[in-house]
């Protein structure tokens, strides 16, 4: 008989039958709870701010039109809610989900819990792509921006992220084994190169472009518009929609590439699809909100503690918790120095940095450099 407290037994009750070691029931419960939490957070975010449009009135307005006995939304409230807050909330959810799921997929792909798009230079590469369009869009890249319109920015960021991920993967992986030290160091090098090139572009930028660029440095959801959602939303949605098909393969990949292939996983194809999906999600996110760090490493890590590393549950749960946490961080960034606004990247870094250190201290040996 196994001593449950010592062995750290994990399991769930399935009906009246306890299946030791099966965390799927717990995972489904957590996913349900996160869904509720996200809906609540989104509704609260819609009402949170300088205007006093109430959540109740808002939901009533959606469901029944004007509720009898309650005032309909004033035109001013309506503009604030539909044209300022709603795009911001939707963008926050999209970006939060994209960052968290990208982190989880990348960690599965590199077989390492420290792989994070922000940490290993992918976000910096995506940023370089986006800044190129902002600065060179009127001159050098004019045909590109003319052809693609509002998609030029996210697609350029996607291309930057993709190139970085492919280089990173090829440098860090030899014969199916990914060296953690090489991955982190190559990420630092690639990130530095991308930031240097970005710096050159910023140096070339004019005043109007510099204003556009300021939010890249810190990351922000301010300035969310329906146009940005229309540009980045489909790309992020497509990337997120692809992830459920990777879940089983990523689970098998935890046993190594050879074993995954023996389990019937088309490993090469999985890797290509995962790299493209991560680059697309990160590229689109960076294009609309700049570099928001640590969501991709904190969210999957917390969820692995709660529901285990099974990607069939980890990926959807990461999307929900990522969306939720980014909305909360945005609420903090909007209110902590009100009426001014703190860039959200500062909030996620201020919370995520210490959390990252805690991961390192708690699980000594997780980084075998």
């Amino acid at each position: 008989m196994v001593d449950e407290t010592i062995a750290g037994v994990a399991g769930v009750n399935q009906g009246d039958r306890y299946v030791s070691g099966d965390r799927s029931g717990r995972a489904l419960f957590v996913i349900g709870a996160l869904t509720v939490a996200l809906v609540v957070t989104a509704l609260v975010s819609l009402t949170w701010g300088a205007s006093d449009a109430s959540a109740l009135g808002l939901v009533g307005n959606w469901l029944f039109g004007a509720v009898p006995g309650q005032e309909a939304l004033s035109a001013r409230d309506s503009i604030i809610v539909y044209d300022i807050r709603l795009p911001r909330v939707i963008l926050g959810m999209l970006v939060g989900a994209a960052l968290a799921v990208s982190g989880a997929v990348m960690q599965g792909l590199f077989r390492n819990p420290l792989a994070d798009p922000g940490l290993v230079g992918v976000s910096a590469g995506a940023g370089l792509g986006a800044v190129s369009v902002i600065v060179l869009g009127g001159t050098f890249l004019a045909p590109f921006t003319a052809l693609l319109g509002s998609y030029a920015l996210p697609l350029a960021a996607f291309a930057g992220g993709l190139v970085t991920t492919i280089i990173l993967y090829n440098v860090a992986t030899r014969q199916g084994r990914t060296s953690i030290a090489t991955m982190l160091l190559a990420g630092i090098a690639l990130g530095a190169m991308a930031i240097a090139l970005t710096g050159i572009l910023v140096y070339m930028a004019d005043d109007r472009q510099l204003r556009d660029l300021t939010f890249w440095q810190l990351g922000s959801l301010a300035g969310a518009t329906w146009l940005k959602i229309a540009a980045a939303g489909p790309i992020i949605a497509l990337a997120l929609a692809a992830t459920p098909f990777m879940a089983k393969g990523l689970n098998a990949l935890a046993l190594g590439e050879a074993t995954a292939s023996h389990l019937g996983v088309p490993v090469q194809r999985l890797k290509y699809v995962a790299i493209v999906a991560v680059s697309a999600a990160i590229g689109a996110s960076v294009a609309v909100s700049g570099g928001i760090g640590f969501i991709g490493i904190v969210v999957p890590h917390l969820l692995r503690l709660a529901i285990g590393p099974d990607n069939r549950y980890l990926l959807p749960a990461s999307a929900l918790l990522g969306a939720c946490l980014l909305l909360l961080a945005d609420a903090v960034s909007r209110t902590i120095v009100a009426p001014a606004e703190l860039p959200i990247g500062i909030v996620t870094a201020a919370v995520g940095g210490p959390f990252f250190l805690w991961i390192l201290l708690r699980k000594r040996g997780i980084v075998d450099l």
């Binding site: 030791s20 070691g21 050879a258 292939s261 023996h262 389990l263 692995r304 590393p309 099974d310």
Partner: protein
Amino acid sequence: MIEARQVSVSIGSKRIVSDVDFTVRPGELAAIVGPNGSGKTTFLKALTGELAYTGDVSLNGRNAVSLKPWEAAGIRAVLPQSTALSFPFTVREIVKLGVTSGRSGVLRGEDGRLPERALARVDLEGFAGRYYQELSGGEQQRVQLARVLCQVWAPVLDGQARYLFLDEPVSSLDIKHQLIIMNIARDFARRGGGVVAILHDLNLTAMYADQICVMHRGRLAAAGSPQEVLSDDLIEKVFGCRLRVGAVPAANVPFVLPQSAAA
């Protein structure tokens, strides 16, 4: 039937395996033995499609190269020497990967308890909720075997034999579990499947193998039944040390052979 014809493997410019012919029929347990570095694991990796090779390998008459990964996963399962895990999966979650990846061949509804049955077979009852990374090397090896068994639980499915490829399945096990694992392998073969196992213990090999393939410097030095293959001359030639088959130690030296195990 597994058929390998003129299989050669080169890694870089170095030829590791040269022109090996090899056949395993359903119902057979074939052991591959040989000194360290003789190309056993490399040959096994060629058979399982993990390494590129020249020559032909076929499984049940189908060229192994033409099999899609998921098709191959329904015909054969592979146990590697050791498996390091990158995330804290429970033992049950690991074994379940075998059920969801291969074709266990048990009825739908019965497969829900298959991980528990497989764990019981490898003498790990009650380990389902433990974290894989916290187990000893021998226990991890048996968890992986349980996963592999789930992948091809029925040795024969749709009239086709299925196969186990085991790379040193008993290398980190105590004698009791060596016997348990070898009995599982032999039972799989008796029920119509085929087993290819790399082994180091010549006594276990002689006891369980229907066919022994001896590898030496990348080539097949001998193949046949234990009686045909295990001779003083061959062992001296291949392993480079003088040993006598069937010699009993001096009367005052205790020795323990797996063959003496009570059934």
